[in-house]
Symmetry: C2
Subunit: 423 residues, 2 copies
Amino acid sequence: MSEQDREREEFLRVARTARDAAAGLAPLPRAAKDAALHAIADALVDGAARIVKANETDVARARENGTPEYMIDRLSLSAERIAAIAEAVREVAALPDPVGETVRGNVLPNGLELRQVRVPLGVVGIIYEGRPNVTVDAAALCLKSGNVAMLRGSSSAYESNSVLVTVMQEALRGTDVPADAVQLVPGTSRDSVKHLMRARGLVDVLIPRGGASLINSVVEESTVPVIETGVGNCSVYVDAAADLDTALDILVNSKTQRPSVCNAAETFLVHADVADEFVPRALAALKEKGVTVHGDERIRSFDGDVVEATEDDWYAEYLSLDIAARVVGSLDDAVAHIRRYGSGHTEAIVTTSQSAARRFTALVDSAAVMVNASTRFTDGGEFGFGAEIGISTQKLHARGPMGLPELTSTKYVVTGDGHLRGA
Amino acid sequence: MSEQDREREEFLRVARTARDAAAGLAPLPRAAKDAALHAIADALVDGAARIVKANETDVARARENGTPEYMIDRLSLSAERIAAIAEAVREVAALPDPVGETVRGNVLPNGLELRQVRVPLGVVGIIYEGRPNVTVDAAALCLKSGNVAMLRGSSSAYESNSVLVTVMQEALRGTDVPADAVQLVPGTSRDSVKHLMRARGLVDVLIPRGGASLINSVVEESTVPVIETGVGNCSVYVDAAADLDTALDILVNSKTQRPSVCNAAETFLVHADVADEFVPRALAALKEKGVTVHGDERIRSFDGDVVEATEDDWYAEYLSLDIAARVVGSLDDAVAHIRRYGSGHTEAIVTTSQSAARRFTALVDSAAVMVNASTRFTDGGEFGFGAEIGISTQKLHARGPMGLPELTSTKYVVTGDGHLRGA
């Protein structure tokens, strides 16, 4: 057997184990799942030294490879960070259990009782980058929602992830939850991702968490259904009827409060009627925060430091202190710009006009539309979901921040007393 | 330009037209959509002669090709059938509009108003077989839910479908709904399906309606998200605690009331404790209805006419007067059989035991689980949805009968008065 075949066999073995564990996990009541989550949290704290030691191997290799310092920081674990990760697991335990919730229910005219109830998805594959905290977060959210997690983190964190999963599995052995309910995809090769993407029938959904290129390649190659997450080219539109102080605050907050995340603004659009008054103030405020503005001709006419915007800038998810800027002739022109270049994540309008707010929210087709609020609010925590597995930018199944209910499907339970169909 | 390139260009032109139409259709209120549906219904009745003429071309070609009579029947249109199709369009107009419904809403601790509202999916691609009534049904359901339909029917019905779409587009010209809101995928080649499956970014979802091989090939090749529909290997489990008269009625109804549809039973499982009493009665009743039973050794011991069941029989979706039959040692064995061989559509238990019903509904992971009712009830009409675009057998987005709400996504509308994020 070739090395490739061997790896594929090993993947299938793990995936079938996951499938069986899913059958055992799905019907467990909340108390059993919460007890298991607390056991995991305890085991992480107890195993901190062992986890840190494995992590040091990953970190040392990353340094040898010349990995940039901000990525080393994401990769690094300490006893303190592990304690925080364990605390997050306890917070997941405290959330309500979505499984079993009756989504709708009624008695049909013929007397059949119809109930649509939430059930786990089954086996959830998660593909993510070099942040070992995601290994635990994702496993905890999946477990709470009755799903088995098949985790495929970055190869740069493989040692850390292996130990984290081992510690979690060991913790589960003393609980009612099957130890196999948390699984690491074996191997670090490119093929191991491929196996996961082709495991239709064994894996129920794939959630890639990472940059646009990772997500695109998963969508292209996967036969398992995919939930796209997290690419955000968000925009702030300053309407003709905006309160300009409010607009300035929202623009600066949306761009600079945390520029590296998907709900940070990457574009601002300003109505021509207020451009002369607003743009100079905006450019000054952004400059003060260290932001480089990539503007159209009109924006550039206000300040020689504005860089010329190219077509690529309108599409860009900078994730840095850069923003694209354009003057538009109308609200509808702003909507047309967003429709063409946006990623469907979050768009904000700043306006005092009720009719402008109504039209913008009706016409903009994004996961979240903000009226007089920062784009940074699109977040499971801010929305009160208690936890978030990602922010979906697709329209099927889940859109926007995904909490525990978004990790479930439903089934219909129909109860009769010998009902037969006539026609 | 090669013929292939030309066809691809033509497809992209139509798809972009559909995308633009979707932007115009999405914000329209119910009254505009209902008026358009009534205009379509009127136009179908008025255009019946023209539609029947085009249909005659398809039917004549199908006869030349030696198409079986039951398929010719599905393909054929008459003035009477067209009137019934038009009536179904009026019934869709009478259904509530799912778009704009607030799915959840609350005020966050910081005063932000959060609303999750239903919005159309956008452009919905439908791939289906030689039933021209689906052309109109699917277009009407999409239009009512604010979606543009991109229709790709069987090439055998291309003339009929072309005229039906033309008649619908002409009808829309006198309404507020864009005429391009109903589109036929151009061409009849295999490539034209491929273009649809690769139109990610232009088409929001694909719904294949047809046999397992069509659905599998779409899932394999599509980069557009797919909703799988309609493959049903449904089973009836007769529990040790079943009322056997009820069990007999449900088994016969599930199998024979309409054998050609996806919610007909294809397997029956009977608990060993009642096999001696139940199986002979079941075999006699099924024989009387002309059903061929494919049984395991125990079932065959009751009647020499029972055919030996192979592994393939347990997986089979016969859609005919055939059924696979097996004696199981326990309810859990029945569940294990279903988990291994079922298609996740509908399973029924017949039992008088509350605990057996509770365990079966908890453990069986199918779109619908019936207790003391025929599998034939899994149907959008029976469930009171008023209409059905298909029955989803996948877990993502929609599961079970899909009505109008299942043709929508949601977006979050968040309203503040200058809210900024602090941390």
